[in-house]
């Protein structure tokens, strides 16, 4: 019987399966961070349990760390305790940690791939919903809750039920200025935030194959915004080349053997998908979100919806609620939306290619004077690479702040946040109410679109700014 990529990885990791389909799945790679792990370690301690396979877990502090000068440590007491708790727990249980001052420190979903910890055909979990990012490598990667983190630490397995197979095909070529961020925003707009609930999504088609490894990560990253826990892509030469020589990648003969195994990771011809959706790349236009859910997308040429034209009462009231929160009038043109802040960063768009894309637009241009703009690289290594290429100088010259790596204003848990009613063009992944600060208003965009918005002072079409 032909199998999908998801079926194959699932079958390869079955430790046990009950008659009702409840399965115990082996976990090859476990990433942890300071916010969702303390209660898990506390649970282990109180029931006298050990970490079963410390070498399969990697820890990094990212959500809470300051992005300004770190030499004085963390001033927020609670954040400090959380980061120190992670350090103490890793020490006690023998887990490798990239601390705040390690140059390999970064957002957990940037660091994992960068170190070669992320590998094709593996099951990867993390107490973070954007774990789907790692699916770009052809791994089954998904977010879990803290009780599950504890379960993985104690048993190196997870209790799961099989999800449905959902394939999204994107074929064709992207027009100039259109990126993988626009592709995934378009997909979420099409399927809705619950469209993938109960499914694992495989992204396929020649457009997907033509994307770089980092562009693929942007797509898989936002799978959860479409309601699916995991999104994956068949691994290919690009993936193997990316991983070769990374610190935690296999070496020598083992490398060759690994590549041989990884090369068989694909969905068989004729394998069954419970759901399938197709998009044409040529039709995709730079996207922005107007509301408070990632499915609230319009093109940069479009306008904000009008609730009066919506017949469904639930939808109507939800549009009204979002417009009110966002401080927008119905039918406003996207390009007429004035912004106060620009944030470039996050596990969606905080990698080197994202920074290059934004810098390309910003070169020899200045941000609008009323806009406050910042770049937060996804990891210390991304920052270092960008500085070697002189990207930091481009950003600083155009008026951006150049920060230390971390999650930063993606979730505004540290000092970086929006004030009430401040409006931000952000390369992150969530535009929920209060996500970037209480009362803050988020418009999700690609890095190039964020750069264009910084220059114009309002949302604008990146295609006008191609250098």
């Amino acid at each position: 019987m032909p199998h999908t990529l998801y079926d194959k990885i699932w079958n390869d990791h079955l430790v046990h399966e009950q008659d009702d389909g409840t399965a115990l799945l082996f976990v090859d790679r476990h990433l942890i961070h300071e916010v969702t792990s303390p209660q898990a370690f506390e649970g282990l301690r109180s029931s006298n349990r050990k970490v079963r396979q410390p070498s399969l877990t990697l820890a990094v502090a990212d959500h809470n760390v300051p992005t300004t000068d770190r030499s004085k440590g963390i001033s927020d007491q609670e954040s400090k305790i959380q980061v120190e708790t992670l350090e103490a727990n890793c020490k006690e249980f023998g887990i490798k940690l990239f601390g705040m001052n390690d140059k390999r420190q970064g957002i957990v979903h940037v660091t994992g791939p960068e170190q070669g910890f992320t590998q094709p055909g593996t099951v990867i979990v993390c107490g973070d919903s954007h774990t789907a990012t790692h699916g770009a490598f052809g791994s089954l990667a998904f977010g879990i809750g803290t009780s599950e983190v504890e379960h993985v630490l104690a048993t190196q397995t997870l209790v799961q039920k099989k999800a449905k197979n959902f394939r999204i095909n994107v074929n064709g070529k992207l027009p100039l200025g259109v990126t993988s961020k626009d592709v995934i925003l378009q997909i979420i707009g099409k399927i809705g935030t619950a469209g993938g609930t109960g499914c694992v999504i495989e992204y396929a088609g020649d457009l997907i194959r033509s994307l770089s490894v980092e562009q693929r990560m942007t797509i898989c990253n936002m799978t959860i915004e479409g309601g699916a826990r995991a999104g994956l892509i068949e691994p290919d030469e690009k993936i193997f080349n990316y991983l070769k020589g990374r610190p935690m990648s296999p070496k020598g003969e083992t490398w060759d053997k690994a590549v041989e195994v990884w090369s068989n990771l694909n969905s068989d011809n004729g394998s069954h998908f419970d759901k399938e959706v197709s998009l044409t790349a040529e039709e995709i236009i730079p996207m922005v979100t107007w509301g408070t859910s990632p499915q609230d997308v319009i093109t940069i040429e479009g306008k904000v919806p009008n609730p009066n034209t919506e017949k469904d009462l639930d939808k109507k009231s939800s549009i009204e609620r979002s417009l009110k929160y966002m401080g927008l009038k119905p039918d406003t043109l996207a390009k007429d939306i004035k912004i106060d802040k620009v944030f470039i960063g996050s596990c969606t768009n905080g990698r080197i290619e994202d920074l290059r894309e934004a810098a390309k637009i910003l070169k020899n241009k200045k941000k609008a004077s009323h806009v406050h703009a910042m770049v937060v690289p996804g990891s210390g290594l991304v920052k270092q690479q960008a500085e070697q290429e002189g990207l930091d100088k481009i950003f600083i010259k155009s008026g951006f702040e150049w920060r230390e790596p971390g999650c930063s204003m993606c979730l505004a848990m540290n000092a970086d946040k929006l004030k009430p009613e401040e409006r931000c063009a952000s390369t992150s992944n969530r535009n929920f109410e209060g996500r970037q600060g209480r009362g803050g208003r988020t418009h999700l965009v690609s890095p190039g679109m964020a750069a264009a918005a910084a220059i114009a002072g309002n949302l604008d079409d990146v295609r006008k700014y191609q250098n």
Binding site: E78, Q119, T122, G145, D314, E433
Partner: protein
């Protein structure tokens, strides 16, 4: 884990769709290293104004709803972040049963790890039961029979049998999985043979 067997309470009806976990418990409360104490900050931005004062007409700030154990809500409840702080906050507030037409996957799973029963019903039934919130009348939930009883009516709901058993008995699933240690061990050996690059020691 606390067992869930049955429950009787006046339900709270919060008719908002796509309530995300940021809305259930905002990030400033994720800095805790404990599971308890989050109830006072549940739905923080809906419950308190900018100065931290209770917003008096928000349903959970009003009697009898501030003592409610059942939350009826819009579809796709619990979407967004994986934070288990969301069910912890609900539990700490006293809510141990949620009724919605759909949930986000991670949130749904997290409920069961914390003795919370998330029930799925269709929208029509939800509207019907929400009347009991408007009228401030109690409804009962019985997990063993998989039934909700309201007035002279009752309705059954579906639930995965294994998840039901775990809730009814308050089972610790780590202990259950550790009973399979031998199987895990032999699986690990298989991995070491077939995919030796997985173990980096």
């Amino acid at each position: 884990m606390q067992k869930f067997i049955s429950l009787k309470s006046i339900p709270t009806y919060l008719p908002i769709v796509n309530i995300d976990t940021d809305m259930i418990i905002p990030k400033q409360f994720l800095k805790t290293i404990k599971r308890t104490g989050l109830g006072k900050n549940l739905f923080f931005e809906l419950r308190y104004d900018e100065k931290g004062k209770e917003i008096s007409d928000f349903i959970l700030n009003k009697k009898p709803f501030c003592n409610s154990n059942i939350l009826i809500t819009g579809k796709n409840f619990g979407c967004g972040s994986s934070r288990e702080h969301a069910p912890w906050a609900l539990l700490d507030f006293g809510i141990t049963c949620i009724i919605s037409s759909s949930y986000a996957d991670i949130f749904y799973n997290n409920c069961f790890k914390n003795g919370i029963l998330p029930i799925v019903l269709n929208e029509d039934k939800i509207k019907e039961i929400s009347e009991y919130s408007n009228r401030k009348e109690e409804i009962s939930v019985n997990l063993a029979d998989q039934k909700i009883i309201y007035g002279n009516n009752e309705i059954s709901f579906e639930i995965d049998p294994f998840k039901k058993k775990c809730l009814l008995e308050g089972l610790d699933d780590i202990a259950l999985s550790l009973e399979k240690s031998d199987k895990i061990k032999s699986f690990e050996n298989k991995v070491k043979n077939q995919r030796p690059w997985i173990f980096n020691d």
